[in-house]
């Protein structure tokens, strides 16, 4: 059963979302504050975090940043405003996706499923691209012999891009393939995730070798 860590300070919204998620078959661990959430995630396995931005004490951005240090659980931001400031701030802090309050349970369900979706393990041997080794069988990525810890979204993005080296993917295509968003996804999700991925695998993020920008169109993997 999938365990959701739900961080929301408003009791009504917290109870409502907890009820809705339970009915959808999730196990829910509610937390009232960011501090409580950070404690909770240390205790036992959490599959996905649904995190409100506006929290007393530590705000959602800070909680997300701290979560990222010790956990690769995907984070879905719950933005009360839907304002660009919240969205950009959340994505910079490392959120995998965001939904705008009030969110319909089926939409939240679809987003949770998407960020948790594991790519099918392939039987093919590990591919080597420069100093980067991508093993689609064990779903691990190693850079210069050291394994890199990636969130599911980052891993999916890397696997999709490296699956067709040199092919250019538009941001909308990537939203569809990686985030499973409908045709109106927010392309900033892609940009933010590319930035995070580059920070982990590129030697110099400003001159990326693996994930290259095709100006005005999108991204491609290589040529290395």
């Amino acid at each position: 059963m999938t365990t959701v860590l739900l961080v929301e300070d408003d009791p009504g919204a917290r109870q409502g979302l907890e009820l809705a998620l339970r009915r959808l078959g999730y196990q829910v661990r509610p937390a009232e504050t960011g501090e409580a959430a950070l404690e909770g995630i240390g205790q036992d396995a959490v599959d996905v975090v649904v995190l409100d931005v506006m929290l007393p004490g530590l705000d959602g951005f800070e909680v997300c940043r701290r979560l990222r240090r010790g956990s690769d659980a995907p984070v879905i931001m719950l933005t009360a405003r839907g304002d660009d400031f919240d969205i950009v701030g959340g994505l910079e802090a490392g959120a995998d996706d965001y939904v705008v309050k009030p969110v319909e349970p089926r939409v939240l369900d679809a987003r949770i499923r998407a960020v948790l979706r594991r790519l099918a393990r392939a039987g093919s041997p590990a591919e080597t691209h420069g100093e980067l080794v991508i093993d689609r069988g064990s779903l691990t990525v190693t850079l210069r012999g050291r394994e890199i810890s990636l969130t599911p979204t980052e891993l999916r993005l890397l696997l999709v891009l490296s699956g067709s080296p040199r092919q250019v993917f538009s941001r909308q295509q990537l939203l569809d393939l990686v985030w499973e968003h409908d045709y109106l996804g927010d392309s900033r999700l892609v940009d933010a995730c590319v930035q995070r991925l580059r920070a982990k695998i590129e030697t110099d993020s400003s001159e990326p070798r693996y994930i290259q920008t095709v100006r005005g169109f999108g991204y491609r993997f290589g040529p290395v």
Binding site: A13, Q15, A20, F85, E104, R188, D191
Partner: protein
Amino acid sequence: MRTRLIIAFIVVALLSALASAWTFNAIHVWYQSAFPSWLSDVIQGPWRWGEPRPLRSGPFGPPTPAYARPPTPAAALAFFLAAVGLLLAVIAGVAVAASRRVLLPVRRLARAARHMSGGDLSVRVEPRGRDELSQLVTSFNAMAASLQDKVGELERMEARARQFAGDVSHELRTPLTAMTAVADILPGHPGLTGDAAAAAGLVRQEIFHLNRLVEDLIEISRFDARTAQLVTDDTDVATAVSGCLRARGWTDVSTDVPAGLTVRLDRRRFDLIIANLVGNALQHGGPPVTVTARAEPHGRGSGQLAVEVRDHGPGLPEAAIAHVFDRFYKADTARARSEGSGLGLAIASENARLHGGHIEGGNHPGGGAVFTVTLPRGSHPSMSGMVAQAVSAGL
């Protein structure tokens, strides 16, 4: 103004010089006897010096000295011109100085007034001296200060009102989150029968309606607060239009969009524009509803995108055409409330404006209402910082 003043000054000065010359001539007989001869010589000028003097000259007197000889006509003319020139120069100098004194403050006031009408209410003029002009400057400054206060007060009040509308909408979202999360549990629940089931259905429906209204209020408050931003992408118009219609299940809307027409725009906002116009046409107009898009050359830029949404209903009442984009405007007052929030067309119009374009509403000569969205194809004047960020991030 200044030139005229100087000319008038010169004319008056010349006239007074002439008058004084006449006066001298009238009294020179008197002063010739009253003053010593060398002084009256000086006063009377070279013409008098040149005349032979009755007492000293004569066949037996000493030879006429050089200064007493009559001057040549050329020397007399030169003297005359030099004198007139000097006089003019002095007069002009005095006139310029005087006009500067009068005109400079006036000019500074004019400049300040221009700045003020250009919107800069903080402009002030430094008063100099104690004359009427400096009083005018002081009054001008007082007026500017009170105007600035009033405008500032009005702006603060407006900002507070907008902030309030935005805050209220945000606050409504939290309880709505809880209600939306549980709304789906109500309908079809076995514990609810009869009136209770009907009531539950109504509550659920109204929760979604309230959601839409709050969403639209927040959207419009972002435009009011000028925090709405564009996130642009190269977008295939045909895909965007068909996607918009498909996502909302509007299968009976026909489209005519050329393939391969790509425009740089904010996809979400473009989607909102089309959805609001088509939704409006379906609800208030009559079928069939058509969406037509075409590229139009325009000026030196890369042209415009024109999207036309037309229905075949009765068309807009003449009195409504000027108001269709007003918030909560309802052309048909008999219809107390529609499915939408009453903000749809206002939001569509704001979104078009954010792109540097506009929407026009009117009636088609062939019947039915027609709304035309015009968006620039090239760069957008109000392009956001977000896009700049994306650019610096490497896209």
